[in-house]
Symmetry: C2
Subunit: 327 residues, 2 copies
């Protein structure tokens, strides 16, 4: 509200990162309704789906149809994930506003995730950049940027090397992904602080998972190191098929709640977001994570106990008796 409030952008990835990990196929109309509801909360970007092979990610096999059915709300960027030229062409045909390209900093994770070597991915994604041209913005997500669940430590220089190349290819954004929640706040702070000014004009985003409970602490560390864009998933859904047990993305409503609490302006209507989250268990068929949709925001007031008047009366009686004894 005040002019000094820092603007922070929250990007909703539940529709892609969340749903791709679900066993159920959510019907296309239901997905479209969800995207439309999310786009009315004030979120500035929604990753709607991914244009990958139907056999690899059956939950998102309706990407083309879904993109046709969603409302296009002005001010909202409707993004889609792509791994290669074929996916990019589909995404462009479906009028995605932004193509989110993915490559992993870890060779092992990139092979497991995309069936391509990093070299092949980079080659394919350079072609995507050329194809997208003026038709759509392109952003690059660098997976396992803070560690690989199979290889372990990842050289941050490898992350920078990939990012530098694609900034050179004209991407509008770079997203550093903590794919399986290995990052800690010290690591995030150090990584992000070192990036200040490195890619002028390029939107830098953090994509964090809450696998070890450090998700919001990592977001806070990133925020303090100058990051103003975060991916997050409604209800904290998401995961990574190559790290079973690794739980979801940081939870959108919890993130928005924290950002607003520390004085940032997300532009998001928290209650509208909570209303969306509350629908999730019915949609995905299981309990979801996230705290704020359950507990309400920190300014929620609870009633006093039913017998409060009696408690007060008795306490006051005791107090007068003690006072009488003391006098």
């Amino acid at each position: 509200m005040s002019e000094s409030k820092r603007k922070v952008h929250v990007h909703e990835v539940f529709m892609r990162d969340g749903l791709q990990n679900e066993a159920v196929f959510v019907p296309t109309d239901e997905k479209a309704r969800m995207v439309d509801a999310l786009s009315r909360t004030g979120l500035t970007k929604i990753e709607v789906t991914s244009f990958t092979s139907a056999s690899a990610i059956p939950a998102l096999r309706d990407a083309d149809a879904l993109m046709q059915r969603i409302e296009r709300r002005p001010g909202v960027v409707y993004a889609a994930l792509v791994l290669n030229l074929r996916g990019a062409q589909r995404a462009l045909d479906a009028r995605a506003d932004e193509l989110n390209l993915v490559v992993s900093a870890s060779e092992t994770h990139n092979l497991a995730n995309t069936r391509m070597t990093r070299r092949q991915s980079r080659h394919a994604l350079r072609e995507v950049c050329r194809l997208a041209g003026e038709h759509a913005k392109v952003a690059l997500s660098i997976g396992t940027a803070f560690g690989c669940p199979m290889e372990g430590a990842v050289l941050f220089d490898d992350v920078l090397d990939i990012a530098d190349e694609f900034v050179g290819s004209g991407v509008a954004g770079i997203t550093l992904c903590d794919t399986t929640g290995m990052a800690d706040p010290a690591q995030v702070r150090k990584a992000c602080a070192g990036l200040a000014g490195r890619w002028p004009g390029v939107a830098l985003t953090l994509h964090l998972h809450d696998t070890r409970g450090m998700g919001l602490a990592n977001a806070l560390a990133g925020l303090e190191a100058g990051i103003t864009r975060f991916d997050a998933s409604l209800g904290g859904l998401g995961g990574c098929p190559f790290a079973p047990g690794a739980s979801g993305n940081i939870c959108t409503e919890d993130l928005v709640h924290m950002l607003e609490a520390v004085g940032c302006d997300t532009g998001v209507d928290l209650q509208a977001l909570i209303d969306c989250a509350a629908e999730l268990p019915g949609i995905v068929g299981h309990e979801i994570r996230g705290q704020v949709w359950r507990a309400g925001s920190a300014d929620r007031r609870y009633p006093r106990p039913a017998d409060f008047e009696q408690i007060v009366e008795r306490a006051h009686v005791r107090e007068s008796m003690q006072a009488a004894v003391g006098s």
Copy 2:
């Protein structure tokens, strides 16, 4: 390991703050076994129970017996919560190392929680300080220090006023409690930064709840503002009866994991702690929160996919074909 590592103390409050909110009565021997297991993890303080009325908190009605059955491991402080002189006498008889006194900064919460006005609580607790004398250390926990679920905002000056009084009465420690998880990192940082040097020689502890998912972010903010002592509860159990839906304390194993990750030395054996947490669902009869006991620590390595060799081979075949085309 390195000499520069900052020593941080984690106090386990599951036995008290966790169990008091459970519907089941955990048998005394089971409780003693749990305390003994926790005391072998390297934790420096365990709040074992509370000496309150059996009707108010039936889950902890075996406080006296429990204190007799636990092992007394050198270097571990076995603390007990007390609200008044009678509880204090019982705790001293049971050889508690430290009495943890509780008063809320909010009048409404203090009345609801203790059936006393703050004035009455302070009077009773001053008597406890005198009684304890040289027999046991005394620490004061100030509830709702960051907000009251019934009243709303709490004046931090009220918190300071209570703390100042009891520091004057000789307490060894002051604990600021975010009883229902209303604090945010900016608030915690500001509060803690203002306390540096205020009470020399008094151990200052943060007691945080994760009600809105900000628990570890708040711990991080406190750590950065100079706090080196934290209460936490195994499995993130705990809560507050006056704020239904408000979930538990910050999770001990997740906190230890984060603290170690950012370079602190907690002295705690994380795996031993995880082993304790893994027993909890069987003990309390329901799923618990906490991420690390499920996901493992960030250095956990996962196997590559079963078909990884094939993936690599196919990728390399494609690469040589592309190279051949390109040449």
